[in-house]
Structure formats: structure tokens, C-alpha cells
Symmetry: C2
Subunit: 143 residues, 2 copies
DNA sequence: GACACCCGTAACTGCTATTGTTACAATAAG
DNA sequence: CTTATTGTAACAATAGCAGTTACGGGTGTC
């Protein structure tokens, strides 16, 4: 795996978990299924749990399960849960250079915030359930 | 500077160059102004030049100037010029694990492509000129 | 109680992307 | 010829991230 794999892994896992909402799935199973490591899975899913999208249970026959139906989990929920920030740089904002630069800096970051907001709005329009349904609705998507 | 600074630097520079469209600006000036390095500037602006957004001249009294008006340069132009890909991972796509995983992988990446497309569409609606005007239109943006 | 199972986390490694920096050839103006 | 400036290559330093090992803390089964 490479870049942006957290979001990819999260979506992948959520979609897959919807196939079997009864049994809790272990991080080992999920990792095996997604071609990664159990710890990586726990790291990512832990954020989803903090955001209330998943539930986890420790101990024997523990594991992960959905906290609510996939049609009530939007991509924006996942995005927010992961704390990603695609367009706007996270942190910094140097306060040096000339005043023109500072003013521009403010304007540029404001624009980036706006763009990010639009992105989230777009993400909120797609649910995990939509991902599962996408092939059913459009069997041959490519060309 | 830290992450995603290329887009930030590009927008910053383009906006700033619009204030003085007559004189060519050197990468040293731009770098000084933006708080970075001339080579970094040339790397980023070079991509904008390849995309036809900027013109550069070598030699004495050379430098950089806008190839067209800022109101005809959209953020999508810049984004495309930089070859960035915020949501969709660039490259890879492992072909292992189970078939369910593969199918999901396809669906997830299709969704990400759609999201990216929406993002670009949104970016195409804002021009560099809009950035400059943003403070004039909304003097006190925050609170 | 002993044991097996599973999450939660810390710590460390290795890889990759990115920025910063130096150096130098190529080009253009005076 | 000298000076200014881009275009690149090469390299170092840094940061983020996936992968891995290790272990503590719960929780069910026997």
C-alpha cells in the first residue's frame, strides 16, 4: 500500500463489514482480507470507533462491527473521522515575510478552506451503501 | 513549509504576480517573497509554464510573467498543471487477496475518481483573480 | 484459576515524498 | 566579457506513513 491508504482501507473495510453485520470481525481477518497488517487496521479503525462509526470488543470472540447501517455512514463521516486534510495544509502558517505575502497567505488559505468545505459537502452525499450498490447499478462502468 | 506547499506556493505566486504584470519577476524575488528557495520556485513554476500558465525568460533581466490574465486562470488549471491528486492514490492497485476485495477495490477507486472529478469541477469555478478579490468582497471574513 | 483470544498502544524500522541547498551548464543583455 | 537568470542534476535533511514486534489489559471458555 502507498498513499491515502487510510481512507482506502477504511472504505474498503466498512464496505466489507456490511456483508456480515452479525459476526464481529477481528483485525487479523480484516488485515488479511485487505492485504495489510492487523496493527495498521486497528490504528485506522480506532479512529472510526472514536467517531462512532464502529464498535470494538476486546477479548475472546471480540472484534469489530458497524455502529450503524452503511446507508447512514457517509464518506464525509469517514473523512472527518480520519482527520485527513487533502487540500488545506495542516498546521503551520508562518508569520514572516512582507505584509502583501501575509495578506495573500490569508486569502489563499481561506480559498483552500472553502475548497475543502466543498469537498466535504460532496463526500457527505455518498454513503458506504452507495459503494456497495455502485456495481449493481452500473455493471460495466469502464468504457 | 511543510505539506502541499506546491499548490500553496503556486497560488501565492500567481496572485502576487498579478499586481505587477509588466516586469518579469525572478525566482529569487519570488522565493524571498514566499519564504522559500529559488530552486523550489523554479521547480513549481516550471510546471505552470509547461501548462501554459506562465512564461519564463532566461538570461539578464529574465524572469517569470503571466501567460494570460488571472481571471482566465482557474484553480483547476493550477491543480492540473501541478499534477497533484488529492483524493485518488496515484499508482499501485495490488492484484492479490480475494475476489471480494478486488471488486471492492475497483468500486472504491471509482468512487475516489468521482470525488476527484467533483473537486476539479469545483476548482474550475474559482480563478486567481477571485483570490485577489476575496478580501475586497468580504473584508472581515473570520467571525 | 488457567488459558486462549483479541483489542490498544508504544516503540522501532524502513521506505518514499518533499523541501532545501549547492553546483553548474545554457542563455541573454549590456 | 561580464553579469544575471533560468533549467537541472545531485544530494542532504526531514517528515509522514506502512509495517512489524512486543506487551499490557480485557473477556470469554474450560
Amino acid at each position: 500500500m502507498k498513499r491515502n491508504s487510510r481512507l482506502s482501507l477504511a472504505l474498503h473495510t466498512l464496505s466489507h463489514m456490511a456483508f456480515d453485520t452479525e459476526d464481529a470481525q477481528t483485525s487479523a481477518d480484516i488485515a488479511d482480507h485487505a492485504g495489510t497488517n492487523p496493527v495498521v487496521v486497528r490504528r485506522v479503525l480506532g479512529k472510526l470507533r472514536s467517531a462512532g462509526l464502529l464498535l470494538s470488543e476486546r477479548g475472546h470472540s471480540g472484534g469489530w462491527r458497524l455502529a450503524r447501517e452503511t446507508k447512514h455512514i457517509t464518506l464525509a463521516d469517514v473523512y472527518d473521522a480520519l482527520g485527513e486534510s487533502f487540500v488545506a495544509p495542516r498546521g503551520q502558517t508562518d508569520a514572516r515575510t512582507c505584509s502583501v505575502a501575509q495578506s495573500l497567505e490569508v486569502q489563499v488559505s481561506q480559498i483552500m478552506k472553502d475548497i475543502e468545505e466543498s469537498l466535504v459537502e460532496r463526500l457527505s452525499r455518498t454513503t458506504i451503501a452507495d459503494i456497495q450498490n455502485s456495481t449493481k447499478r452500473e455493471p460495466s462502468h469502464a468504457h
